[in-house]
Symmetry: C2
């Protein structure tokens, strides 16, 4: 394991993450009233195109269980998703994206893509 390489990669990740996250927070917030986490959750919902257990979302977004719980609560308050109890396991919660949630996602997607394109335009490809 080349230590130089590992540290270099870490610095790269730190820099890109900071730049992209900061820009996303600003752009998505100003233009669409969404935080980066909120958008991320909406994005997952749209991709899966079905109601998801909170736990399933937790595996995909990089948030703690408690943070995700609150993000979903915020989205629900904004009318972008609904929460419903799971009949099979009544501890569980299903999250379901609303039409307004889909619309907001559709509206915000180009903004996200533009930000990411700007940040990663100079990135070399990964050798698989």
């Amino acid at each position: 394991m080349d230590e130089e390489f590992v540290v270099g990669t870490w610095h790269y990740v730190l820099a890109k993450h900071a730049k992209a996250m900061c820009a996303l927070e600003r752009e998505l917030g100003d233009k669409h009233g969404l935080g980066a986490s909120e958008f991320e959750v909406l994005d997952r919902m749209v991709r899966h195109d079905k109601k998801l257990r909170l736990q399933e979302l937790c595996d995909e977004v990089h948030l703690s269980q408690s943070a995700l719980s609150r993000v979903v609560a915020r989205l629900e308050k904004g009318g972008l998703v609904t929460r419903g109890v799971c009949d099979a396991d009544r501890r569980g919660v299903f999250v379901c994206i609303t039409d307004e949630g889909r619309a907001r996602h559709t509206e915000a997607l180009p903004t996200q893509r533009a930000v990411l394109a700007g940040v990663f335009s100079d990135t070399p490809a990964l050798t698989g």
Copy 2:
């Protein structure tokens, strides 16, 4: 600009950042009483091996000016760095790592390297 590639790279950065950051926070915190940001600042100080203006540090660590100000305040309270006014420009502040700060960094460095090695061990190289 291949959209697929950009989004893929972003997901990679998100995943690695979350995993590494979380592990660093835990390991550095438990074993050495340092946060990731604190370690980052100490690391920059050691690398430069001289007293730095707060502003110079700000260019290197991915923190807002206010966050950096507070990280340095915490480090000072812990005796790991000292702050001194800059004679040339008395608005400026010089940050200077202490012997204890160096010792703590030396002690924590292997922990950081181990965490990063674990996280990035499966990472392919970047094509220059």
